[in-house]
Amino acid sequence: MKKEWPVWEVFIRSRSGLDHRHAGSVHAADAKMALENARDVYTRRQEGVSIWVVPSASITASDPEEGGELFEPAKDKVYRHPTFYDLPDELTHM
C-alpha cells in the first residue's frame, strides 16, 4: 500500500468570540486523527479554544485568474460605504 494520508485544512478559533481562522494543514488518516494532529501541531501554546478540520479536497477555491471578473462588480458601488453620503457636520450620533 503506497497511499498517503489525506491532507486536512485546519481552522482555529483563538479565543472565545472570534472567528475560526485558517492556521495551516495536517495529514491524517481520518477526521479524529486530523483533530488530534492539528491540536499537536498548531496549539502547543494554547493558541486555540476550538478547531475545525476540513478535507482539503472538499474545498472549492476561486481561481486567481478570474479574480477580476469575480470581484469587479463590487468596485463601482461606492454607495455601499457610509462615506458616500453628504451630510452636515453638525449631525451627530450617525
Partner: protein, 315 residues
C-alpha cells in the same frame, strides 16, 4: 507564446516588487516553483533532522526543568518541519515525494546537524548559536514573497525565541558553575562556533543564486551580511558568559563598525555538504529507519479509516 511568457514574467516580478505575496494558485514561473520546492523542503528537512542531536539528550537532561524544556524544544522543531512541509506541498509536490528526496540524498538539509552533540553543554551551545543563527535567517524570511512560506516563518519565529534563550541559560549555568562545568561550556562553544558561521552558506562571491534570490525576496541580506551580523551580536554574549573568544582573530574594527574574524575553513564546509561530515550517514540512517519502521502504522491507520468509512456507508 514566447512573448506571452515574457509578459507574465514581468508582471510576476512587478507584483513581487510592489510587495504583494504570491499564493499557491497564482501563476508563477516554473523556476520560482522549483526553487521554492527546493528551499522550503530543505528547510523542512533541517527542522526534522535537527531533532536528532537534541532528542539524543532528552533522557540525560540534568534536571526535570531541563528535560521538559528540551522536550518542548524538540517538539517545536518537529512542528516547524510540519508547517514547512505543508507550505511546500501547496506547490504541487506530495509529502511522500519530499521524504523520498530526503532519504535518497537528493534533497539536502542544514549541514550543522551533521555535527555530533557530545556533551550536555552542546544543548546550550546549539540553542544559543545554532538556533540563534537560524533565527536571523528566519526573521528575514517572514517577508519573503511566497505567502505560505512567509506565514510559516512568522509562526516559527514566534516559537524560536525561547529556543535560543533556554540555550543561553544552560551556558550561563555552566559558566557560573564549577571549573569543570565552565570548561565544558568553553569546549562546546569552540566546537560549535565555526560550524555556526558556516550555516550562513558560502561567501557572497561564491554564492551562485544570490541575485535571483534577492529578486524573489528569498533573501533580503546576503550570506556575508548575515554572518557579520551574527558575529556582531554574539561576541558581546560570549563576553557576558565570561568565556574566551573561540577565534583569536576576533577584534573590533572601529572603521568598519564591525568585528573582524578569522578565515572559515571552507574545505570542511564543502566536505560536510558533500556528505562526509561526522554524522551525515548516521542522521540519514536514523530518518530512514523511522520512516520504514513507521510504515505499518501509516498503513494500519489508513486501513482502519477505510473500514470505518465502509461501515458508515453500509448503515
Amino acid at each position: 507564446m514566447e512573448i506571452d511568457i515574457n509578459r507574465l514574467d514581468l508582471e510576476f516580478q512587478a507584483k513581487i516588487d510592489s510587495g504583494k505575496t504570491i499564493e499557491p494558485k497564482d501563476w508563477m514561473p516554473e523556476k520560482y516553483r522549483k526553487t521554492h520546492i527546493r528551499q522550503i523542503s530543505q528547510h523542512a528537512h533541517s527542522e526534522i533532522v535537527g531533532m536528532l542531536p537534541e532528542g539524543n539528550w532528552i533522557t540525560r537532561a540534568p534536571s526535570l526543568r531541563r528535560k521538559v524544556t528540551l522536550l518542548a524544544k524538540v517538539q517545536d522543531e518537529g512542528g516547524h518541519g510540519l508547517y514547512l512541509y505543508s507550505a511546500c506541498e501547496t506547490l504541487g509536490i506530495s509529502r511522500d515525494e519530499l521524504f523520498e528526496q530526503l532519504h535518497s540524498g537528493k534533497a539536502k538539509y542544514s549541514s550543522i546537524f551533521n555535527y555530533p552533540a557530545v556533551t550536555w553543554a552542546d544543548m546550550g551551545a546549539v540553542g544559543w548559536l545554532v538556533d540563534g543563527a537560524a533565527i536571523m535567517n528566519q526573521v528575514m524570511l517572514t517577508r519573503t514573497s511566497f505567502g505560505p512560506y512567509a506565514r510559516a516563518m512568522v509562526r516559527i519565529c514566534k516559537e524560536e525565541s525561547f529556543h535560543q534563550r533556554q540555550g543561553f541559560e544552560i551556558m550561563l549555568s555552566l559558566c557560573n558553575g564549577t571549573a569543570v562545568q565552565k570548561h565544558m561550556a568553553q569546549e562546546s562553544l569552540n566546537r560549535w562556533w565555526w560550524p555556526s558561521l558556516m550555516m550562513f552558506g558560502p561567501r557572497d562571491e561564491e554564492s551562485t543564486h544570490t541575485e535571483q534570490a534577492i529578486k524573489w525576496k528569498i533573501k533580503l541580506k546576503t550570506n556575508d551580511e548575515l554572518r557579520q551580523q551574527f558575529v556582531d551580536q554574539t561576541v558581546p554574549q560570549i563576553e557576558l558568559l565570561g568565556l574566551e573568544l573561540p577565534d583569536p582573530a576576533i577584534k573590533w574594527n572601529e572603521e568598519r563598525g564591525h568585528y573582524d574574524f578569522g578565515p572559515i575553513n571552507w574545505d570542511e564546509f564543502w566536505r560536510v555538504v558533500g556528505g562526509n561530515g561526522p554524522c551525515n550517514r548516521e542522521r540519514l540512517a536514523a530518518r530512514k529507519e523511522a520512516w520504514e519502521k513507521g510504515a505499518w502504522v501509516r498503513e494500519a491507520a489508513l486501513a482502519y479509516a477505510e473500514k470505518q468509512e465502509n461501515l458508515r456507508e453500509a448503515v
